[in-house]
Symmetry: C2
Subunit: 336 residues, 2 copies
């Protein structure tokens, strides 16, 4: 039987966690171990801050997902919010609420999954806390970032005529979750199906393109797709006081989506509109900035971007089929 | 039967929460409602950040404590960490993990308790998230603050010969919890006992004295008493590479403590050494700064401060009785 965390106190667990992290970079004046962390100022920058949590049985199941993926994803979903602001992450805090019989090996793996992305994204862990849970595992993360005042990307900047672009492909995370629910045996899955599970478990926040698009002012608004493209398009339109139309045929559906959707009697685009958690980014791009936007996407490591619709004067959020027939966008995915 | 939060989605709950808050001050460029919050820089300042959570059945019980006290305390314990750094809070984030049958009235009260302290401490709520819990209520809070680089109070600055001061009185929060466990009927309690329960439920973070002591450089180190004075004294000594001695007779035991301690066969000072959650502050004060320190305490609204011991060269953490006999400090209170 494996050791549980109950054999250690909070301080011993923090020491153990600390030992698994990289040494903090110079802008972290005081990291883990005091009443609060202290960061040196980033001259001329504004501070961006976001928090999000993963809750066992709501956002993940421990019997479906490796512990390191839980650590990775808890940080990734926050980095995605930072990316959507056009900001650069600087530091993170991790609050772990652990069942008392939680295996120490899983604790280590959560920390390792977190630490690995934290290193890759230059977002050092500078503080947090560990508490006991009488129920589910809860992983709550806060990320601080910085952004140059005039480079900030809000949801509310979209204008009539702007084009709606999305990064990467859609529906993979939802299809991955469905596949996890259908079978725990991964050996029989196709590469496309495995890629869907990978997207569900280890989404890659789009930090580079967010920052580059912001730096060259190539977009008027941006938002991440935590709750899906239908939600993001509608939220950007509402915040910007314009309408939005998505062309169903233009949606870049991940190749693993169609078979999963078909088993539910849906076309891939309909499935994609109801799915979330892809952690891609949506951008509103003024037509005159399109080539600048595409150049930024190339410079960000050849990130694929697709024009899927546009913003217009008439309020509302619509999906348009190949015949030009419009129907209201579905409500999208609700984590809650 | 009262309405539960399950009748609303996450977005409706956030809108409801938002409506119960004050309008955010000018340094909040973007508050609730975008992918992340954006704060204007505080020129010349360093950023201080801390996070802490309250977990039902671990840190509180809903049948013992009013919901508004839970909201208050979740913010207060974080503000106490900011105070211990000598910093000024600027913004906060609130992550609520709610059981699906959670009463909407209690949701409103948690927000109101939070909002009331948030207003009093000028710490606007700028973001957060709401998720479902399959088990306990979890309230996770992050507070950002700022501090002038040379004014920062760390745990590690104590020197041989420094005096150990503590604010207010000790043991009240633990006695309050004990009283809640003994009886739910508050009508039969004395004013001292009621004050203990108030300390347990609505601790008042020592923001003003923390900031003033830091501003006049009257202390070499500070820490808050979330885990009690024994823990704080030992942690400050260890971080500063010195020893510490506390005089048992000098401990400012709250008047409500003695009867509770007696029912457990303890003297008040012994009870106080094993108790936590008072959220007072401990300061290491160089002897030549004592009058400056006392003046700062007076200016901070006549905060009572008591010299309870000193730091010395020989490593270790000791409690000294009236005859000068030393024994090791007990381990203190462990939230975990």
């Amino acid at each position: 039987m494996s050791t549980s965390i109950s054999s250690l106190g909070e301080r011993a667990l923090i020491t153990r966690l600390h030992a698994r992290l990289e040494v903090a970079p110079a802008h972290v004046r005081t990291g883990i171990g005091d009443d609060a962390a202290v960061l040196l100022p980033d001259r001329g920058m504004q501070t961006v801050v976001t928090t999000d949590s993963l809750v066992e049985h709501v956002h993940f199941r421990r019997d479906w997902t490796a512990a390191d993926a839980i650590g990775h994803k808890a940080l990734a979903v926050n980095l995605s919010d930072i990316a959507a602001m056009g900001a650069t992450p600087r530091a993170s805090l991790l609050s772990l609420i652990l069942p008392s019989d939680f295996p120490l090996d899983d604790f280590d793996q959560i920390v390792d999954g977190y630490a690995s992305l934290s290193k890759a994204a230059a977002t050092p862990l500078v503080g947090g806390n560990i508490a006991r849970s009488p129920g589910p595992l809860v992983v709550d993360v806060t990320v601080l970032g910085s952004v140059r005042p005039r480079r900030l990307l809000l949801r509310s900047g979209a204008r009539e005529g702007d084009e709606l672009f999305v990064t990467g492909s859609l529906g993979a995370a939802a299809a991955g979750l469905a596949l996890l629910g259908e079978s725990r045996d991964r050996t029989s899955l196709t590469p496309d199906e495995l890629a869907c599970i990978e997207r569900q478990e280890r989404p890659a926040p789009r930090l580079r393109i967010g920052r580059l698009v912001a730096r060259v002012s190539a977009a008027s608004a941006a938002m991440d797709l935590s709750d899906g493209i239908a939600d993001a398009a509608a939220a950007m339109a509402a915040a910007s006081n314009v309408g939005v139309v998505i062309q169903a045929a233009a949606l870049p559906c991940h190749p693993g989506v169609a078979p999963v959707a078909a088993r539910r009697g849906l076309e891939a685009p309909d499935y994609v509109l109801r799915s979330g958690e892809d952690y891609e980014l949506a951008f509103a791009v003024p037509a005159r900035r399109r080539s600048r936007f595409l150049a930024a996407a190339r410079r960000a490591g050849q990130v694929p971007v697709t024009r899927i619709g546009h913003f217009e004067r008439t309020l509302g959020a619509w999906i348009e089929d190949a015949d030009g027939q419009r129907s209201p966008l579905p409500a999208g995915f609700d984590h809650f």
